[in-house]
């Protein structure tokens, strides 16, 4: 029976139209709706399904960030995780916290908590890095199934279908292993009200990176964050002939 460690990140909700700060050093996050990173919902759902199939015994949800990250942990607990670990990072330190730091934290926790599986989303929709699973695998020297769309368990060996550029790829992985969830892996469940209430009683342990011996010194300087160039408003054309005319004019056909 395996233990699964699942990384969940609190990000600006995917449906929010973000705004760049006037000092051009980041995006406005105050008063903006945040939720669990959609890929992490898929990761936690997969861990829960494994638990329902009795392949996993315990699910530990982990989130790194300021105190609001606990809301995200509560969501994971309400979905079905057993306990949470909140890695407290101050707002200012969080600005330059990179997947490398998070990977070191999760790798250390995976060892401390004797996890056999680490599951994370393939990317966070805020920094769009797509690095954490790969780096945890590198740090622990564990095999890594990235961009998983199907995970099957055969007596401790995992058959993993990965989404690659031209189609799909299948690999066989021995645990302990790291997995990253792609969109197509599953359809995450909603937390029901009784489960949200129950989740309030589940334990969340608070830990600092220092407790884990992880150095979170900034590896990057953010020089600026700017709005992307705005496209010129286009024209609505009345019919196909005028479209073909325009495309011919601009040399596209």
């Amino acid at each position: 029976m395996a233990r699964a460690l699942v990384g969940v990140k609190r990000v600006i909700d995917y449906a929010v139209k973000i705004r760049v700060k006037s000092d051009k050093m980041g995006v406005v996050t105050d008063g903006v709706k945040h939720s669990m990173n959609p890929f992490d919902e898929i990761a936690i759902e997969e861990a829960i399904r494994m638990k329902e199939k009795k392949l996993v015994q315990e699910i530990i949800a982990v989130s790194c960030g300021p105190k609001q990250s606990q809301d995200t942990l509560r969501t994971a607990l309400a979905m079905g995780a057993d306990k949470g670990i909140h890695i407290e990072i101050s707002e200012s330190e969080y600005e330059t916290l990179q997947p490398l730091h998070v990977s070191k934290i999760l790798a250390k926790l995976a060892v401390d908590e004797k996890a056999d599986l680490v599951i994370v989303g393939k990317q966070a929709i805020d920094d769009d890095c797509n690095q954490t699973a790969q780096m945890i695998g590198g740090i622990l020297d564990w095999p890594t199934g990235t961009f998983c769309s199907k995970i099957e368990n055969n007596n401790g060996e995992l058959t993993v279908t990965r989404e690659v550029d031209g189609g799909l790829e299948v690999v066989k992985i021995k645990t302990p292993a790291v997995l990253s969830a792609d969109l197509r892996l599953n359809e995450p469940r909603y937390a029901t009200l009784p489960n949200i209430m129950k989740a309030k009683k589940k334990p969340i342990k608070k830990v600092t990176p220092k407790d884990l011996g992880v150095d979170t010194t900034a590896r990057i300087d953010i020089l600026s964050v700017e709005e992307p160039p705005v496209r010129q408003a286009g024209a609505i054309l009345p019919d196909v002939d005028s479209l073909i005319g325009k495309l011919k004019e601009s040399g596209h056909v």
Binding site: Y14, A15, I18, V20, Q98, P99, L100, K122, I125, D126, D128, C129, N130, Q131, T132, Q134, M135, G137, G138, P143, T144, G145, T146, F147, E163, V164, D165, G166, L168, V170, V171, K172, K174, A177, D182, L183, R184, R219, I220, D221, L223, S224, V225, E226, E227, P228, R231, Q232, A233, G234, A235, I236, L237, D239, V240, L243, I244, K246, L247, S250
Partner: protein, 333 residues
Amino acid sequence: MFATNFRMLRASNKFGSLARYESTLVIAEHNNESLLPITSNALSVAKKIGGDVTVLVAGTKCDAVAQAVSKANGVSKVLVADNDAFKGFLPEALTPLIIATQNEHKFTHILAGATAFGKALLPRVAAKLDVSPVSDIIGVKAPDTFVRTIYAGNAIQTLKCKDKVKVVSVRGTAFEATPLEGGNAKCEPAPAGDYKPKLIEFIKQELSKSDRPELTSAKVVVSGGRGMKSGDNFKLLYTLADKLNAAVGASRAAVDAGFVPNDLQVGQTGKIVAPDLYIAVGISGAIQHLAGMKDSKTIVAINKDPEAPIFHVADYGIVADLFKVVPELTEKL
């Protein structure tokens, strides 16, 4: 006498580092038969960074690929690693090879294309080097300063990388391709070793077969969304695409509904394309889709909903039923 020479040597070395002499390793992406175009885009980034450019070609019977890339303009050396261990190009096999190569040559930069291959591989390499990788760059301002998008392309971040070795994946559509001609690099063997991964095994690949151009490098892309209503209706787009020699893409809604396979998805979590012409058919234009196509030179939207956000980015829009417009467009082209 010796001591003086030694001091001079050290002084000149120090000077060398002050002059920021760069050397870049580009990890070639290929299928053992030919080099994938993304590698040529990554080579342009390497040249922009300056200094020596070395290409690593690892695979099984990948000699032809090594020969081809050795002719690329600006490449000074090609390292070849031909080994059964690299079957399926697993990061678990390639990472120790890249680390061995790095230990020998001490590159300042390690680059690859930001494809499924590059994204799976580079962060593992970076973790081994204890450096913070930079994903999917769209610009190079200095050898340590890169530009990338965040929040689904809705903000552009410029960052300075403080790590000694810069591990960077490159957005292909943001950089010109370096032609595979005009160069004459030497091919040498890469460091040998036991690279066979013990805990992971490549089983198979199931690639979608298509005669159309590859999505990320096509000059014209025709994409369909939920408005296509069924997988069968995508035939309308295939016919149009064939007329335009275009690749076919899709929105997440079309993929989720099972109209087309996942690898056609254009967007934040799918492919990022920037063709000369992008024709969005029955696509509303959610933030996540726009992230994958809004750098296209010309965008055409065909949608019956005049309020669809796709019209905010489209150069030309037609507000009408796609089932009438698409066949008419195909016929008249």
